[in-house]
Point group: C2
Chain length 437, copies 2
């Protein structure tokens, strides 16, 4: 029979089991923290009606989307979790409680050009809080607190959540007489990349006059601690109400973030953070690993005035954040930050001598009853060396060897696979030893 | 602006948050048990190359599959988790340890006719153990033990894992001179539906003579306890070696299942279980809820000689089982078996009086540090009645009200949302009360 060469599609991440264990560990920490803050789980279909998913229309998204026609149905694979959320909230509106706090961790699909660290199928891990007509600024402070909690627990080095407020920026530029400041924001967003001179050059090319340029520079030159920045912003002259509202929001967010217990060193106002999307209207976030700036933002989001304007006239303001989980995993692994993560879910493996499998099975069930993940080696005819190699390759921390002696004495040899030391122990002692790590 | 009516595709299951919590709970129990028995997690892409996924070719599957063409790439959404496993094992063969024990819980896609309880996107939760050249019969006993562990923990009433052996059946029928007994198996599989008379009628139509028919009936009439059935099979006259091997396997499986601690009442040999697929070669399983036979088998699988013959000449025997999770959830809910499952992940909600939000935030963080899932109601301007209604609708078991009194005394009012009783407690007592449930 002709054999087909098995291979995955280019741009599709697929992991080996020990990598998958580390990936799932990250995913689990994110999930657990989302739940700790009272978010509800959601799991919308991967396929949606094209007219619903592409209601906004146009742009890069439509080109990248995976379309499926089957019979008379025109479908798409979701390209993010936000559009499905908008659809969900409007479709199930009457059955939801607002503020509606949901998390969703799922795969999304974009037929992008395949390149290193970019995937066509990738996980996003999103939280959003959706209000009905209004939504307190407190939520803008809670979101980064959850991110803080996650990245602290992930233990992948120093990180900073950078935050800013689009209302403040827009108001300030409006106050200077710039009616549609989108292109100013776009230039400012490049500050770290092209420097102040570069930003000024770009703005000059947009016919921003010297007086305005000076005022813009007064804003983007503001740096320092959060309190210093807020003080400098206070001194900034602007008669824009929008600016004042934005500044008030920023102050509130900083105040409440501290109440949520976030360490000041992990949070930093950065007035050059603007976020590319038109979508955001107030607070915006980006998150960076201090020692790995090359990785870029590992988690971004912000506040928006209206989640679902394509589906409804209702005002549904929200605030949310998204962790690009697949990309994050890939980058953390490349930066060698996962080396201390466990690679085995099994806590112990039982390796019986030939003929003693019955005892092995009985012992394995006793260990499982004590909530210990136990792998029982079932290929009784394999040689002991092969069995140990198996345990080793699977990174299982402990092995129990069962021989005649062990059965007579009701003591088992527990081998620490890392140190190689072996000790005879009772079942009780084994459980205690394994649980202690 | 014209609004698009938001709706999901027909045949796609989408849950409300309280339903999703119950769904995820079932999924989590399955996952936890798979890990308890030393299975490795896998997460293959939803999209695969068409030539790989459809290597077997033909049949209903190909008609139902969701195909995508993008550029010059011909892709399909996976329709099960077994074909991707076969592809994975051959593609990554040199990096895997055998026996390779993996679980995968993921969505699969079939464009079937939409009908009650059938979905076009649905979760499967699979385990398989793949051997390199050979695989011990012990694995055929471990698989149902895991299923036993899962359904015991799910606590959805009495269940029975029915098992049989295809080698035994094929051998017996071969011994009667029936060379290709597939159609006999197909008839026998209908025994419960059409009765013995129905089966006999079907077989007569296939030109099975009376002598053979009598021998077939001798087999399918065998009932009783597992030990009784094994004894009757011993007495059955057959000179087929295949039959003898199958019977030996069945005896071993029963012996080891008992060693794995499975209660005898939960396991039953049933000689009419044959499983539709050509794929299986030895042990086969189906699982039924005793009080809900109308639900049909909730978990099926078996032993196969060769996982990946479309991709390789290597001999990769395996044994596995699959839980149709979406269908299971749907049926359990319809049968009202989930009514006692928790509907809230949040263990407590904090409802501050206006102006006291700061204390609420601080308290919520203290509770989270004690690993208590805590929702802090942030819409400070809402009325207290609205806040309580929110807590109630979300099925959160406890609410803490924060008023001036509470802050002065450092005691908080903990309200049991089910009984309505309210009690002033210290933080310590609150943690203890919440953790005690």
């Amino acid at each position: 029979m002709k054999k087909i060469k098995p291979s995955t599609l280019p741009g599709f991440l697929e992991l080996l089991p020990n990598e998958q264990i580390q990936f799932d560990y990250i995913k689990e920490i994110i999930k657990k923290n989302y739940e700790k803050y009272g978010f509800l789980p959601l799991d919308t279909p991967v396929l949606e009606k094209s007219e619903v998913l592409l209601a906004k229309g146009g742009g890069e998204t439509e080109k990248q989307v995976y379309k499926i026609e089957k019979g008379s149905t025109d479908m798409c694979m979701r390209f993010d979790l936000t559009v499905p959320l908008a659809r969900y909230v409007v479709e199930h509106y009457s059955k939801l409680q607002f503020p509606f706090r949901r998390y969703q961790i799922g795969k999304v699909y974009r037929g992008e050009k395949a390149q290193r660290g970019r995937f066509r199928e990738f996980y996003q891990a999103d939280i959003d809080i959706i209000g009905n007509n209004s939504l307190s600024i407190l939520n803008d402070a809670e979101i980064p607190s959850i991110i803080y909690s996650i990245f602290t627990e992930l233990n992948i080095g120093e990180f900073q959540i950078m935050l800013n407020n689009r209302r403040l920026l827009n108001g300030y530029f409006n106050g200077l007489g710039i009616e549609d400041p989108k292109y100013v924001l776009r230039s400012i967003d490049k500050l770290k990349k092209i420097g102040k001179a570069g930003v000024n050059e770009e703005l000059k090319r947009q016919n921003i006059n010297d007086e305005k340029l000076q005022k813009i520079n007064e804003l983007i030159e503001i740096t320092g601690t959060n309190d210093e920045i807020l003080k400098s912003l206070d001194k900034l002259e602007s008669d824009s109400e929008e600016f004042k509202t934005g500044l008030k929001e920023l102050k509130d967010v900083i105040k409440y973030i501290r109440l949520f217990g976030v360490d000041d060193k992990n949070i930093q106002i950065d007035l050059s953070i603007t976020r590319g999307l038109d979508y955001y209207t107030g607070t915006v976030y980006e998150t960076f690993l201090t020692e790995h700036p090359e990785i870029g933002s590992i988690c971004s989001g912000g506040r928006y005035d209206n989640l679902a304007s394509n589906y409804t006239d209702m005002q549904l303001p929200g605030v949310g954040i998204s962790i690009g989980l697949s990309r994050l995993y890939y980058q953390l692994k490349a930066a060698n930050l996962l080396k201390d993560y466990k690679k085995s879910l099994s806590e112990v493996i039982i390796l019986p001598m030939e003929g003693l499998i019955d005892y092995a099975i009985i012992l394995s069930e006793k260990l499982r009853k004590q909530s210990i993940n136990t792998l029982c080696y079932t290929e009784i005819k394999h040689k002991m060396g092969k069995k140990f190699k198996y345990a080793d390759e699977l990174n299982i921390p402990y092995a129990i060897v069962i021989g005649e002696d062990e059965i007579e004495q009701e003591l088992y040899s527990l081998k620490d696979m890392q140190t190689g030391t072996q000790q005879k122990m009772s079942l009780e002692e084994i459980v205690k030893t394994i649980k202690s790590i």
